[in-house]
């Protein structure tokens, strides 16, 4: 085949001209907010939840008249749970669509990819559920509304020593997930410091369906309890197989457990196990009840999980920041968000600290009779 390279050069030249196309700015009578989430791909379950929460918050805000007389417009992009995509997506939201702030992601690894772009463009980014401490270390434009791994890991370590009175604990980590590895790390630190002993450390890959090999080894180590920092889809199966193998000790984990699905899949196998999370729906404030009701109404009776609540909070937190800043300018918005002393979120009253992380209390729940029952509150 003959290709005249002059033609190719022309073609490339034409393409280059196209490259200079400018993004429209987000002015006008709406406030354009960008969101990136894993709506398809491996972690679509969690991305969809956080997106639904965010969408509900934006709709509520608009129904209440928006902020500064302007309504919100949410521009959502799917990153397919794929590395490499968040950078493209966030670049698009900022440079092409001209959003004033970015909400997202659940997975820390994808938030970490998007964070430098938001930082370089001076656009505030609020992550709903990325718990890795590194996320907000990227720069002063990056915030989050969830608590971080060191806090939650320590909370569970204290819970294991004080409430469960466990001295020997096995840790079962999702090696694919930085969330799980982070929690496991800080749990181990806290627990050994409190005099406990880690008798077995094993790993699984998120998405595995068979855990019996590891659980048999854990059972042989005879722990008092097993720490399973994972997501509910895996945890439910782990609980079932642990029960089958006769591993009859309490299992406990973090906020990744919180979902109706845990009980629906796990059934009586998840009974009696514990996890830490943001709020207790049985001992809840009117705010939580209202959120749960609104969410159920909006999404055909679906009960919100932790990711949905955090997604909801990320949008509400942004709106709060905009109204306090009185502007959608990146730097002003950043200062307003950073100065948050008390924000009444669905997931608890929170303040923003110097590292731009949310400081808030955690609650510990137990699965009882197919529902989550309040056990105790742990202040930050």
């Amino acid at each position: 085949m003959l290709i005249r390279w002059q033609y190719v050069a022309l073609l490339v030249g034409g393409g280059l001209l196209g490259l200079t196309g400018c993004g429209k700015s987000g002015g006008g009578d709406t406030i354009l907010v960008g969101e990136f989430a894993s709506l398809t791909g491996k972690e679509a379950t969690f991305g969809t939840s956080s997106h639904e929460g965010t969408l509900l918050a934006i709709e509520e805000l608009n129904a209440a008249g928006g902020v500064m007389g302007k309504k919100f417009e949410l521009k959502t992009e799917d990153d397919q749970s794929k590395a490499g995509e968040p950078a493209n997506v966030v670049n698009k939201l900022i440079s092409k669509d001209g959003v004033i702030a970015v909400l997202g992601e659940v997975a820390s690894s994808r938030s970490l990819e998007a964070a430098p772009i938001c930082q370089q463009n001076g656009i505030p980014m609020i992550s709903p559920a990325s718990t890795n401490p590194k996320v907000t270390e990227t720069g002063d434009y990056i915030f989050r509304v969830c608590f971080i791994d060191p806090f939650q890991g320590t909370v569970m370590a204290n819970f294991a020593t004080k409430t469960l009175k466990a001295t020997k604990v096995a840790v079962f980590t999702d090696v694919k997930s930085d969330y799980s590895k982070g929690l496991a790390k800080f749990f181990k630190e806290g627990f050994t410091k409190a005099g406990g002993q880690i008798v077995s450390e094993l790993d699984f890959n998120g998405g595995d369906k068979d855990f019996k090999g590891q659980l048999t080894a854990i059972k042989t180590a005879a722990p008092d309890a097993v720490f399973v920092p994972g997501y509910y889809t895996d945890v439910a199966l782990i609980c079932i197989q642990a029960k089958q193998l006769g591993l009859n000790v309490p299992l406990f984990g973090g906020d990744g457990w919180e979902s109706d699905t845990l009980v629906k899949i796990g059934g009586d196998a998840v009974e009696g196990h514990y996890f830490s999370t943001h709020y207790a729906s049985d001992a809840a404030s009117p705010k939580v009840t209202a959120f749960v009701e609104a969410y159920k109404k909006r999404y055909n009776g679906k009960v919100p999980d932790a990711m949905a609540a955090l997604g909801y909070d990320s949008a509400k937190f942004l709106a709060d920041g905009i109204s306090r800043a009185g502007s959608t300018d990146g730097a002003k918005l950043r200062d307003a968000l950073a100065a948050t002393k008390e924000f009444d979120a669905v997931t608890g009253k929170m303040a923003i600290n110097a590292q731009r992380d949310a400081v808030k209390a955690a609650v510990i729940l137990q699965v009882k009779g197919g529902a989550f029952k309040f056990v105790e509150t742990v202040a930050p």
């Binding site: 077995s200 998405g207 369906k209 090999g213 048999t216 080894a217 899949i265």
Partner: protein
């Protein structure tokens, strides 16, 4: 020692499922000489079919029960056989005379299509759904060893299907035709074998197997989602190659070995995080010494 036997049981149970899925891969490969990437997605569709059929037949046959489970499995297998035949007819048949790579890429396309379509919220949605209990399950205690009845069912079904499949391929007229098509399509056609019908049959049978495997897999891990087939699919694919692709007992052997290996590796602290990689490492080592797989015949290239 008790630990060892428990792991042996766990490994055999897991391996049986891999073996069952690998049978489907290997059978299609044996006849058509291409890897049907969509096999793992048919497996997922099988589990979803059962998920929707179970509540539908609940008023007629109480669940969990043996008859109920058999009925649900039968219907799901039929549906998946239909889907398999349809996939072959729409996507692979037009490419029959084309290079194998073209078909391979099409298969990947079909696989992605099924996955993304099923993830769409108008179809199944991306969230994990609880799989209904089809069979009453009990746990047997042998001393301190635990055997779940589900695991026994899986092993039993795998052996049954392996023998059944072997019988079909070796002893029946259809099977003879399948082997003829596998050996030389043109010659088989000249001998009066209806190639299209045989290939459709192979796909139907393979997809029905996938449906059974999907249901058994979902019984073991009762949370189903549109990507549930991907991981066991890759493992079964490895198992099929390990045993010598195209070879039925080889697929079963490969599946069992892989299941045992993963279970034992998973139970060792420090190694368990490498579980995904170790299966591949062993595979590579075996293939280096036996390039055609454990039971495969190595072909000599003729000039």
């Amino acid at each position: 020692m008790e630990w060892f036997f428990q792991q042996l049981i766990n490994g055999l149970a897991l391996g049986s499922i891999y073996a069952l899925i690998a049978l489907g891969y290997t059978m299609v490969y044996g006849v058509l000489r291409f890897i049907n990437f969509a096999h793992s997605d048919v497996l997922m569709l099988g589990a979803y079919a059962a998920f929707f059929i179970a509540p539908a037949i609940q008023p007629l046959v109480p669940l969990p029960s043996l008859t109920g489970a058999l009925l649900v499995t039968l219907f799901s297998a039929l549906i998946c056989a239909g889907i398999g035949i349809l996939i072959e007819f729409l996507a692979y048949r037009p490419l029959r005379t084309r290079p194998k790579l073209t078909v391979l890429i099409t298969a990947i396309g079909v696989s992605l299509f099924i996955e993304f379509t099923c993830q769409h919220k108008a179809v199944f949605g991306a969230d994990t759904k609880p799989f209904p209990t089809l069979l009453p399950s009990t746990d047997f205690h042998l001393g301190s060893l635990l055997v779940s009845s589900n695991d026994l069912v899986v092993m039993f079904v795998t052996v049954l299907l392996l023998v059944g499949l072997w019988f079909v391929v070796q002893k029946t007229k259809v099977g003879t035709a399948m082997r003829a098509v596998s050996f030389n399509q043109q010659a088989a056609a000249l001998m009066g074998v209806n190639i299209n019908r045989i290939i459709s049959f192979t796909f139907g049978l393979g997809s029905a197997l996938a449906a059974v495997a999907g249901i058994l897999y979902a019984m073991k891990a009762p949370g189903i989602e549109p990507l549930m087939g991907v991981q066991p699919g890759i493992r079964a694919f490895i198992a099929a190659v390990l045993g010598g692709i195209g070879n039925l007992p080889g697929a079963a052997l490969g599946g069992l070995l892989l299941g045992l290996l993963e279970t034992f590796v998973g139970g060792i602290s420090g190694l368990s995080s490498y579980r995904d990689g170790i299966a591949f490492a062993i595979l590579i080592l075996i293939l280096l010494f036996k390039p055609a797989g454990l039971l495969g015949k190595s072909s000599v290239e003729k000039v």
